[in-house]
């Protein structure tokens, strides 16, 4: 066995189209071993397609990738030995009980009988599925099914795990549980490639985040780096009446009117100096604001700024 590579995934110019639709338009990815990497994007962005390519399910139209040190195109079986995949949709055998599903995985990983049983018992315990072990997945809640799915992925002790939208459709509690499981996995040294539609999830879990938009990576970096990509946040002002609002709009120029008709969103770097200047400006003109709030940029701003050109209209 070769030593664990520093870089878990190194992909170059991955391309994939379905008919006329370009899904991936040349994306580069680097995932360091032992980290959580999150691919963030709305529905249809191409997250699942990326996972399918990197997990050997489909071939890219162009580009190359090394996964756990093996070339994706030339040594897919070597890649498969190193990875585990929990897809977006349940990949459990619905006709077998939870325990039988895990034992099936143990058999397919060529664990001997005793080790297979031990590993199964261990995973049932760890994922809180002991009571459900002898039942069919149809009787499971959504969260339990995801946990079984993930447990099946872990039977072979993979070095790299793909989690395609692991919390979509889960209730908040199950999502929390899943987050804890993912953190524990990362702590144990497993590399995790996580896709999600939720900024909060990426922010909470990931060491690095890449934003997928229109087939390209619109941005990539640590959560903090991404926030820095947006030069500033904004200030929200609420006025008592339309008259005051219009006066403020004339005064401040770049502001955008909010949906309620009485509030204004003003871009700002949120530094004390500029906030004071803004308030002074309003004071001097005799325009009075009812409410004033400062929004330092969060991932939402990054996300909308990168992926939605109509942001100005939608937010504020």
């Amino acid at each position: 066995m070769s030593s664990t590579p520093e870089i878990s995934i190194a992909a170059k110019r991955l391309r994939k189209s379905y008919g006329d639709k370009v899904v991936l338009d040349g994306i580069d990815l680097t995932v360091r071993a032992g980290t959580i990497f999150s691919l963030l994007g709305p529905n249809g962005a191409g997250k699942t397609t990326t996972v399918q390519i990197l997990s050997t399910l489909i071939r890219p139209d162009g580009g190359t990738a090394r996964v756990e040190g093996h070339d994706l195109g030339r040594a897919p079986d070597a890649v498969r030995t190193a990875i585990g995949v929990t897809g977006q949709f349940a990949a459990v055998d619905r006709l077998l009980t939870g325990e039988e599903n895990l034992l099936l995985m143990a058999d397919l990983h060529h664990l001997d009988r005793a080790r297979g049983r031990r590993r199964t018992a261990e995973l049932l315990e760890r994922f809180d599925l002991v009571e459900a072990a002898k039942r069919l997945p149809a009787t499971y809640s959504g969260g339990m099914r995801r946990r079984l799915d993930l447990a099946m992925t872990l039977v072979g002790s993979p070095q790299l795990i793909f989690l395609d939208e692991p919390t979509t459709g889960l209730d908040p509690r199950s999502r929390q549980t899943m987050w804890e499981i993912i953190r524990e996995l990362a702590d144990s040294g497993v590399t995790i490639f996580l896709t999600t539609q939720y900024l909060e999830e990426a922010d909470q879990l990931a060491n690095r985040i890449a934003v997928l938009h229109n087939g390209k990576l619109a941005a990539e970096g640590g959560p903090d780096e991404l926030k820095r990509l947006i030069p500033g946040g904004h200030v929200r002002l609420r006025f008592a009446d339309e008259h005051a609002l219009l006066a403020a709009m004339r005064l401040l120029g770049h502001s955008v009117r909010g949906e309620d008709g009485l509030s204004l969103r003003v871009p700002s770097d949120c530094r004390v100096r500029s906030l004071r200047m803004l308030l002074d400006e309003l004071d001097d003109a005799g325009v009075e604001a009812e409410e004033f709030s400062v929004n330092t940029p969060d991932l939402n701003d990054v996300f909308f700024a990168l992926t939605d050109s109509k942001r100005e209209v939608l937010s504020a």
Binding site: L57, V85, A90, D93, R94
Partner: protein, 260 residues
């Protein structure tokens, strides 16, 4: 190679567990030929029996029709494979298998071997019912062995074909319908009535379709009826051809299918 056998055995165990736990599919594939047997022997038997020439059949139409119906059990059994393959493809579990370092072919091999075992059990049941209804084969041990071999070859061929149907069909329902026409082919062969008694075009079809030599060979083995030279070889040739087509088609369809 060893790994691929190991994986195929694992997949086979999985498929047999499915079949044991959900026997309704197997039962319905046995029910069909048994019903045909009851219908043709119990209801039409008298009328049809006297109509069929050959002195050896007088008074025991069951002896004439049983081989054809036993063969129907082989095709009807393949429906179960078509359905279980198609269910797998819609379930996404196959995608999990495909991201694992297991031999690709083991998924299909497991289905096909499992299907063959189930169908052979069904065939044994149908033979049992035929015996209860007065089927009196004249076969000696070697003939029985030959009949078993032929049925195995036939079942193997039909099961690969069914696996391909299961892979290309849109869902379990259409998968279960796909092999249906095959089930009725024995009727348009020498299964129920000798082709000499059929009208022109139908007769030509009956004499040249794959099931006729297979049925004739089976009948020859079980009942000792005389065979035109080369019928046995023709029967095995058809089985081999169908198996090959089914295998190649299934293999291609399998590597293409990525369940969504």
């Amino acid at each position: 190679m060893r790994d691929s056998i190991h994986d195929s055995v694992t997949m086979l165990r999985r498929n047999l567990l499915h079949a044991r736990r959900y026997p309704s599919m197997t039962i319905s594939t046995v029910a069909m030929p048994v019903l045909m047997l009851l219908l043709f022997v119990g209801v039409f038997g008298g009328a049809l029996g006297t109509g069929i020439g050959g002195a050896s059949y007088i008074g025991s139409y069951v002896d004439y029709v049983a081989p054809g119906i036993i063969l129907m059990a082989a095709t009807s059994g393949s429906v179960a494979t078509a359905v279980s393959v198609s269910v797998d493809m819609t379930e996404g579990i196959v995608n999990r298998f495909r991201t694992m370092a297991i031999s690709r072919s083991s998924v299909l091999t497991g289905h096909v071997i499992g299907g063959v075992i189930q169908t052979m059990v069904s065939i044994a049941l149908v033979v049992g019912v035929a015996l209860l209804m007065g089927f009196r084969p004249t076969a000696g041990p070697l003939d029985w062995l030959g009949a078993f071999g032929l049925l195995l070859a036939m079942t193997f061929a039909m099961t690969w074909l069914a696996a391909a149907f299961g892979l290309v069909s849109k869902g379990p329902e259409s998968a279960s319908n796909a092999p249906m026409p095959l089930m009725f082919l024995p009727m348009l062969g020498s299964g129920f009535v000798p082709p000499e008694r059929m009208p022109g075009a139908v007769r030509w079809f009956a004499e040249h379709q794959p099931f006729t030599p297979i049925i004739e060979t089976l009948r020859g083995l079980l009942m000792g009826t005389p065979l035109v030279g080369g019928t046995g070889a023709l029967a095995l040739g058809w089985c081999a051809l169908i198996a090959l087509i089914g295998f190649l088609w299934a293999r291609r369809a399998f590597s293409r299918a990525v369940a969504r």
